[in-house]
């Protein structure tokens, strides 16, 4: 399952959303997820994917941004483990 599919399913569960409305270009704001909720969501996704996102501001507007962030951290952790 791709990172996007997994994130999509996670968001649908976490926020009781219809998976069909969670598309890559959709902004989190338009799904009712503001900056504060996004920060808390990132922590939940750390647990879900077993990653640690560095502290500091992250430019996360859309679901695509969120998935890119997760993929980046997964790649970094794979490289570090290799």
């Amino acid at each position: 399952m791709s990172t996007f599919d997994r994130t999509q399913q996670f968001l649908a569960r976490r926020f009781t959303l219809d998976e069909r409305e969670i598309t890559p270009e959709r902004t989190l704001q338009s799904l009712g997820i503001d900056s504060l909720a996004t920060m808390e969501l990132v922590f939940d996704l750390e647990d879900e994917f077993g990653i640690t996102v560095p502290d500091g501001p992250q430019a996360i507007e859309t679901l695509r941004d969120l998935v890119a962030l997760i993929d980046r951290q997964l790649a970094l952790q794979s490289a570090a483990a290799a």
């Binding site: 926020f15 009781t16 409305e21 009712g32 503001d34 504060l36 909720a37 920060m39 922590f43």
Partner: protein, 446 residues
């Protein structure tokens, strides 16, 4: 019969220096813009109890001077306005009447100054609107509108509240919609010009009613941001908790006004977080005991909470809920030193957001009557100054010029881009540390 529901929606400060300054301080104007851009829940509520046989429309008029003629073609209009824009509302009412359209005025200002409003209306609604509206519409349909519909003393039961006509709104225009969960307030703050002036008895709306309104909003805006149009949402903790438990199932983000007592109830704070609370606005009013003395006229409740302010802010924000702390400059008992006191408190407190206003005497409030008797109103009936940013009274501890210049300087510091970012970064850093399990306050970023 076609009725237009007309909301005057563009409150603007008259102090030119402040307005000019505000243009460079987005944080300063943000909250006032939010208030000004909220739809009129009162009008939508009356629309909700208007018989289906009546055609109706909802229109907002942010700037009367930008309107060439009267908007819409109606048999009658119901106009609602803040005090600051009541002059424009009266001019609009006069234009409608000149065209033969019947005009009904109502709301907080009209309830405070019914004789004044009646000079510009064919009928006025004094007190809560719901008890009067069915009879008023029936009279309109019969062609026998009465001059005064006065519901004071009837104490409308919010269990009978109609569903507001949110469907009349173009939701694309709003960044939040309002829902009322209660009316009135058990406190009696001298300056308060909110719903306590039309509903002297504190009362709550049944949670099932509130949730029905939120679900109706979600039909037109699937992921809405809600502002509770309450004076103090959690003054009744039992109702507040019941509301939170129901709200948690709806996945909405929301904002409301309350007081520092929420910080004494961790269960409530957790429920608020889980129900999607993004921010609470709390009237801290002043960091100075002298400024807080006598605000509620008798109980002095806020003065007794002063020592708990910092702990309350920390505890609320530790639950992931941002606090918007509100301060009033020019309170009796405070002088020029109050600007520095507020600045230091804001700087040290970790407040995520801040709102500063000047002490304002609104019509119908005990403060207005006291200052009128003391000869301290700058001008009587100067409603255009009731913006919360313009001075309409002589402060007790400083001159009007000192209040205006001190307020402007304080606004410049509090709403600078750098300080806004510093406050927000500090909040997010602390929250991140908390969520990473750093619970020792010594380790938290100060």
């Amino acid at each position: 019969m076609k009725i237009g529901f007309i909301a005057m929606s563009g409150v603007r400060a008259h102090n030119k220096a402040l307005t000019d300054h505000g243009l460079t301080l987005p944080g300063f104007v943000e909250r006032s813009k939010v208030i000004a851009s909220l739809p009129s829940l009162g009008l939508l509520t009356l629309a909700g109890m208007t018989p289906a046989q009546v055609e109706l429309d909802y229109i907002e008029v942010p700037d009367l001077d930008a309107v060439a003629d009267v908007p819409g073609d109606f048999d009658a209009v119901a106009i609602s306005s803040f005090s600051a824009q009541i002059g424009e509302a009266y001019r609009l009412a006069d234009r409608y009447r000149a065209r033969g359209t019947q005009v009904v005025l109502g709301g907080l200002h009209v309830t405070a100054r019914p004789a004044e409003a009646l000079q510009h209306a064919d009928g006025i609604v004094v007190g809560e609107g719901e008890p009067s509206w069915p009879a008023l519409v029936a009279d309109l349909l019969r062609g026998k509108l009465q001059p005064v519909y006065d519901s004071r003393g009837q104490n409308f039961d919010l269990a009978n509240a109609p569903m507001p006509r949110f469907d009349l709104l173009d939701v694309e225009r709003y960044n939040r919609l309002t829902v009322q969960t209660q009316r009135g307030c058990p406190f009696r703050c001298e300056f308060c010009a909110a719903s306590i002036r039309i509903a002297p008895t504190f009362k709550v709306k049944p949670v099932t009613k509130v949730m029905a309104e939120i679900r109706r909003i979600k039909e037109i805006w699937p992921h809405p941001f809600i502002e509770f149009a309450d004076d103090n949402t959690f003054v009744n903790k039992r109702h507040g908790k019941e509301l939170m438990r129901a709200l948690a199932r709806e996945h909405v983000r929301w904002f409301t006004e309350t007081d520092v007592s929420v910080a004494q109830d961790d269960e409530l704070l957790q429920l608020m977080h889980d129900a999607g609370c993004a921010q609470v606005l709390i009237g801290l009013e002043s960091p100075s005991p002298a400024g807080l003395a006598g605000l509620e006229q008798k109980t002095n409740w806020k003065a007794r909470q002063r020592d708990q302010y910092q702990r309350a802010i920390d505890r609320i924000q530790s639950h992931g809920i941002t606090v918007n702390g509100c301060f009033i400059l020019g309170l009796d008992g405070t002088g020029p030193e109050s600007f520095d006191e507020v600045w230091k408190f804001v700087r040290d407190s970790g407040l995520y957001e801040v709102q500063i206003t000047v002490q304002t005497a609104f019509p119908g409030t005990p403060l207005y009557e006291r200052l009128r008797q003391e000869g301290r109103l700058l001008r009587e009936n100067a409603w255009e100054l009731c913006t919360l940013f313009d001075v309409n009274l002589k402060p007790s501890g400083m001159s009007v010029a000192e209040l205006e210049s001190g307020f402007l300087a304080l606004a410049g510091k509090i709403y600078s881009d750098d300080f806004i970012k510093e406050r927000q970064d500090r909040f997010f850093a602390r929250r991140r540390q908390q969520m990473r399990g750093v619970t020792d306050t010594q380790e938290l970023t100060s």
